[in-house]
């Protein structure tokens, strides 16, 4: 009697088809050895919303009864493999319902595996992934976050690479041959995809992570209120009026103490305070009231409230003043304005480096020719460039300079 439980952590809407294919592929592969399985999503998550972290699950078991035992809860509380298809999620996950930050490895069992698509190094990722009280394996599949499979985008084989890698991680449940057979039979399968899965099986990089390794930040959390503590009538209090930034100048709004958006973001705005013309457009346009008014009339972006939508960059009339850059380039949520105030020259250098950092900026929007993955992989790993497939953020970043 045994079971394999996997979660797939993904970005809402862009990766929902990708995640669904992976969990279906797991069940269909395991079925080749007469196992039973189920694939489902966490219903309370919001797979239809832009960039929101969401989860799908796959459970496979030797018997129907054992499958039921593992299904008799809303979602698995422990998983053998955590599959992460966007490495910006290594900072942790907040469900759409926002009950605090869940470290990405939280549900992973001791000596289980976190399987992630990433172009970053193990050490770089472990700056973001929280420490865990048990050792586990970090397995990397070299790829950028895939937005392929979302209606308008072409295929990029990410789903089959994950399945091929999983055959290496859990061979007693999914043999490589079974995975290949299931891929070939599925309506999105092909011989080329089978070849991609086999290559991924060989190429996966694995490293054990000790309990001493990782980000030692204590994840943000809060207690859910009891029914009698909640305000009646399905009402919630409004956020109180804010205060001046300092010495009666500027304005910083109060913010919801529970509702944080740290992990909603894949991008964040960086601001050149020297070129800001104080036009207010970012402040007016931001749907999340992210911009705090500074005493000098410029606007600082509060990272606890920013979901990374990029409206501020789009409305900013000044070339190079607000730039969306990859969230993965940051390990804190500190105030940019304070950094700028303390050291203007140093800030300029920092800002230029963030904008120029294009290593992981782009997302995969599918392939245009055979062999593109191999070419990109080499280019990206060797030079940090994004020559072939650039996503929208990369396109914006290209003309940015400081």
């Amino acid at each position: 009697m045994s079971a394999l439980i996997c979660e797939v952590v993904y970005r809402g809407i862009f990766q929902k088809n990708l995640a669904a294919r992976i969990v279906r592929g797991i069940v269909l592969s395991a079925r080749k050895a007469d196992r039973w399985g189920i694939a489902f999503g966490r219903y309370g998550d919001s797979p239809q919303r832009n960039g929101i972290p969401a989860k799908d699950f796959a459970i496979v078991a030797d018997t129907k009864e054992e499958l039921e035992q593992n299904m008799a809860r809303y979602e698995p509380k422990h998983v053998d493999v955590t599959i992460v298809v966007d490495d910006t999620l290594s900072k942790g996950v907040e469900s759409w319902a926002w009950y605090g930050l869940q470290p990405i490895n939280k549900l992973t069992v001791p000596n289980g595996t976190v399987l992630m698509t990433s172009l970053q190094s193990f050490d770089s990722l472990l700056k973001d992934i929280h420490k865990k009280d048990a050792p586990y394996n970090l397995a990397l599949l070299r790829a950028k976050a895939s937005f392929a499979g979302l209606w308008v985008y072409r295929e990029d084989h990410t789903e089959v690479r994950i399945l091929g890698a999983l055959a290496k991680i859990a061979p007693s449940f999914l043999t490589l041959d079974a995975v290949c057979e299931a891929i070939k039979e599925s309506d999105w399968g092909s011989d080329l995809k089978v070849a991609s899965a086999r290559k991924a099986y060989d190429r996966i990089e694995n490293r054990q992570v000790a309990i001493t390794e990782g980000n030692d930040e204590i994840p943000f959390s809060f207690e859910m209120p009891k029914w009698w503590e909640m305000r009646e009538g399905v009402t919630i209090p409004a956020i109180p009026v804010g205060k001046p930034k300092e010495a009666g100048k500027g304005y910083v709004p109060e913010r919801n103490p529970y509702f944080k958006k740290y992990t909603t973001r894949t991008m964040r705005p960086v601001i050149d305070f020297d070129t800001c013309v104080k036009c207010n457009l970012c402040w007016i346009s931001c749907p999340d009231s992210v911009f705090d008014v500074m005493p000098d009339g410029t606007f600082d972006a509060a990272m606890e409230a920013c979901c990374g939508c990029g409206v501020c960059e789009a409305v900013c009339p000044v070339e190079n003043c607000i730039t969306m850059v990859n969230e993965q380039a940051f390990s804190d949520n500190n105030s940019q304005w304070e950094m700028w105030r303390a050291d203007k020259a140093g800030y300029k250098t920092w800002l230029g480096a963030k904008i120029a950092d294009k290593v992981t900026t782009a997302r995969s929007h599918g392939f245009r020719f055979r062999g593109q993955y191999e070419e990109e992989l080499k280019t990206e790993l060797d030079t940090g460039g994004v020559e072939i497939t650039t996503g929208i953020p990369g396109e914006n970043a290209a003309h940015k300079s400081v």
Binding site: W96, W228, G233, V234, A238
Partner: protein, 409 residues
């Protein structure tokens, strides 16, 4: 904020008026000085909206009178008005009430103390005007308080009590008063209308308090929530409905003090139940043939009584059980149906069976369906039901059937 109508009628003794149940409700609404009323015509409820319009045009009541484009909007408008502190009224009948269903559903969780009059009417099809109770019973599981009135006087008094109960901060739930179409809504009877001064002593102004939607009290009402919040919200409604029972008793006690009339037991009327072998149960105007039938049967030595339910939600389980446990047989006459339910009975019979399940003494219970679509429930129907109950009393066993009264067969 609720605005008080300035021109209040002069204080003094009760006025005696010959008015219908609908007009009695309008008298009560005038005395309660409602702020916002919405209307959309459907028989028999439309008699109430006409009576209110007349009150406003006559200058006796100052209120916003909004004719909506349908029942859905009608109930939405008062829901919103209530959240900004207005005392509100609306109502409907039959399929009109059904058309408002989405708005009826959201009112209890938002804790809106809306008072509605349901002029009970058969549901389409066939298009029919006569009384059936299935319309109001749509909302029986949703957090609406439900009561049935029998006379014009009771309609007037219950409307005043309804505001007192629903607008109590411990409750804040909507309340529907059911009045049998035609038999009550269109029948004029001598009714005592109390002076405004007494009503003011009984009924405080509506205070929305911490739930008031106002710039000075910034709140968000009805955000989306997922499974991690919903059960707590349902539990809050459960508690409000439980608290309503005590508030109902307080309100009736105060009503008796201020007005010098009204029942000691808010929940149901008992008629000759004290020594009864057979107790019949019904709601609304069906009490009339039952009472007359009971008097006739008593003259023949049959000890029959009536329990007429006023309040269906909250349901006075313990009190109902205490009375019915003493009988040798119970006969519930439903003016509604619940097709495919246990024993194919009506709603009230099913509820009373459930209430009796934990009773120490469980007399045989027989279920009847009668008077549908406004058909007369005859004395013969009452005698027939009672005879069947006596058979069950003698055998000590229910026939586990539902008998249709007055159906051509």
């Amino acid at each position: 904020m609720a605005v008080e109508t300035k021109a209040a009628p002069a204080a003094g003794a009760d006025k005696e008026l010959l008015i219908s149940g609908s007009e009695a409700v309008a008298e009560a609404l005038t005395l309660a000085d409602i702020d916002v009323v919405t209307a959309y015509p459907i028989r028999p409820y439309d008699t109430v909206m006409q009576a209110i319009a007349k009150k406003i045009s006559g200058g006796q009541l100052q209120a916003e009178y909004i004719v909506a484009e349908g029942e859905h909007s009608q109930f939405e408008i008062v829901k919103h008005a209530s959240t900004v502190g207005a005392r509100v009224f609306c109502g409907s009948s039959g399929v009109g009430w059904a058309y408002a269903m989405e708005c009826l559903v959201v009112t209890p969780p938002l804790r809106v103390p809306m008072i509605a009059l349901v002029g009970n009417r058969a549901l389409d099809d066939p298009g029919a005007f006569g009384v059936e109770h299935n319309d109001a019973l749509f909302v029986r599981d949703l957090g609406w308080m439900l009561c049935w009135v029998d006379t014009s006087q009771e309609a007037l008094d219950t409307t005043l009590i309804a505001y007192r109960v629903a607008e109590d901060r411990r409750v804040f739930l909507p309340l529907a008063i059911s009045a049998d179409g035609a038999f009550l809504t269109h029948s004029q009877a001598i009714t005592m209308v109390p002076p405004k001064e007494k009503v003011d002593r009984f009924l405080p102004r509506y205070n929305r308090g911490d739930l008031l939607l106002h710039p000075d009290n910034p709140i968000t009402v009805a955000p989306q929530a997922n499974e991690d919040w919903v059960i707590e919200i349902r539990r809050q409604n459960d508690e409000a409905m439980k608290r309503a029972s005590a508030v109902v008793e307080e309100a009736y006690a105060d009503f008796r003090k201020v007005f010098g009339r009204g029942p000691e037991n808010p929940w149901f009327e008992e008629y000759m139940t004290e020594d009864a072998d057979v107790i019949l149960v019904g709601m609304g105007t069906i009490s009339l043939p039952m009472k007359v039938g009971i008097r006739n049967m008593r003259a023949q030595g049959k000890k029959v009584g009536l329990l007429r339910l006023r309040w269906f939600r909250p349901f006075a389980t313990e009190k109902v059980v205490a009375v019915l446990s003493k009988a040798k047989a119970i006969g519930v006459v439903d003016r509604d149906y619940s097709f495919g339910s246990p024993f194919n009975a009506g709603v009230v019979a099913t509820e009373i069976r459930a209430a009796m399940y934990n009773a120490d003494t469980r007399p045989p219970l027989l279920s009847f369906i009668g008077g549908l679509g406004g058909r007369e429930v005859t004395l013969e129907d009452v005698y027939k039901a009672t005879d069947l109950c006596y058979s069950a009393a003698n055998s000590g066993k229910s026939d586990a059937k539902t008998h249709w009264l007055g159906v051509r067969e």
